[in-house]
């Protein structure tokens, strides 16, 4: 059953600290950032950092790195590529899930920039969620090629340009989890609903012309929870920083399952 309120130990306390901007700062912007320290035994809090944007790079990730380097080295977050391809820096910025490295601070309309971890996830520390279950759901859709026919002796398994284009889009998924953690159905049922990222991955292998397990893949999804918790809320598609469309992929899977009944 959906639990709309945060459990007591997860509620945000009023103990947040404020780090003032340095003297003579020209373009001050306030960053309000969710903090949780597992060693403190205390509830999460929101700290406020005033940053001089005149000496800061344009992206939200630039601001986070500036804070960590110059103001507060205890701030923890994941990042790697800083160009939107590794999927590490996914977080909730200004109320929507996206990648900190490709989200421009100037695009945040409000006065303050509010930053939280991906929603409805167990928090390891600060902006770092535990993605164990998310990855397990990805693994559950068997995201690899399965074949029964023997491999061609002289090369790879080929497919036409048209067939390749079918998997072009979904293959671009970077497993950042922005979509799944934006989905209210996933919030309330993540123990049983696979979520848009895993279902997009399932779709990618279902429509792959070289794969021989289409039927088994559809069988595995035909379940009131694993697939049908999707009510086409469309949050996933709105959130995806790679402009992919998990909601459409899920709709296509539902159609394929309905279509094979007769």
């Amino acid at each position: 059953m959906a639990e709309f309120q945060l459990p007591p130990g997860s509620r945000i306390s009023n103990d947040g600290k404020t780090f003032k901007a340095p003297e003579g700062a020209k373009k001050v912007r306030r960053f309000q950032i969710y903090r949780f320290d597992p060693d403190s035994g205390q509830n999460p809090r929101v700290d406020t950092y005033e940053i001089d944007m005149a000496t800061c790079g344009p992206m939200v990730l630039d601001a986070l790195i500036k804070i960590k380097n110059e103001i507060d080295p205890t701030l923890s977050f994941r990042r790697s590529c800083r160009e939107g391809i590794c999927g590490s820096c996914a977080m909730n910025i200004d109320g929507s899930n996206t990648l900190a490295c490709i989200k421009s601070c100037a695009d945040v309309k409000g006065a303050d920039v509010r930053i939280y971890p991906l929603p409805h996830m167990p928090v390891i520390k600060d902006l770092i969620p535990d993605l164990t279950q998310f990855y397990a759901q990805y693994a559950a859709v068997k995201p690899w090629l399965t074949t029964r026919s023997p491999a061609p002796p002289d090369g790879e398994r080929l497919q036409s340009k048209e067939d390749q284009e079918k998997i072009d889009g979904p293959s671009a998924c970077i497993l950042c989890a922005c979509c799944s953690t934006s989905c209210p159905s996933y919030w309330w049922n993540s123990d049983r609903y696979l979520g848009p990222a895993a279902l997009l991955a399932a779709y990618r292998w279902i429509v792959d012309s070289r794969d021989d397990s289409t039927g088994e893949r559809l069988d595995a999804l035909e379940d009131p929870f694993r697939l049908y918790r999707c009510h086409t809320i469309m949050n996933c598609t709105e959130a995806c920083p790679k402009d992919l469309n998990p909601a459409r992929a899920i709709g296509e899977i539902k159609r394929m399952i309905a279509g094979r009944r007769h």
Partner: protein
């Protein structure tokens, strides 16, 4: 080590049109289902003879009940329009972000226009059929 807290969700997520329309579909669905009880009451009153029927219509003529009936009508219009939107999705169309936003606006426009018209026809004291 403390157990891992759950990160905030509803309290931080921007309430986008996507969520608003989706939850409204469920709310109106439940409202329609509850409204069916009124239909049952009407049928019972119909079977219960002229007196029971007069009592029923008298009760339904009450101002507050009329407002609730008006809201029920709007709920029906919304559920109908958004239900058609859902059925359209079920044919595999309208999933692009721009298309979904456009269909959302169409649903709202339909409810406003058809709602204003029908509320006028059924409930406006001076005009309409009553």
């Amino acid at each position: 080590m403390a157990p891992r807290p759950l990160s905030p969700h509803l309290s931080v997520y921007r309430f986008a049109y996507t969520m608003a329309l989706s939850i409204l579909h469920r709310i109106t669905g439940v409202a329609l289902a509850s409204g069916l009880l009124v239909l049952v009451a009407w049928l019972l009153a119909l079977g219960g003879g002229p007196q029971a029927y007069a009592a029923f219509t008298g009760f339904m003529g009450h101002g507050l009940i009329q407002v609730i009936l008006g809201a029920w009508l709007l709920a029906f219009l919304y559920h109908l329009a958004n239900g058609i939107r859902h059925l359209f999705w079920d044919t595999g169309r309208g999933f692009a972000k721009t298309a979904a936003r456009r269909s959302a606006r169409m649903v709202i426009a339909f409810v406003v226009v058809a709602g204003a018209l029908l509320v006028y026809v059924f409930f406006w004291p001076a005009g309409g059929v009553q």
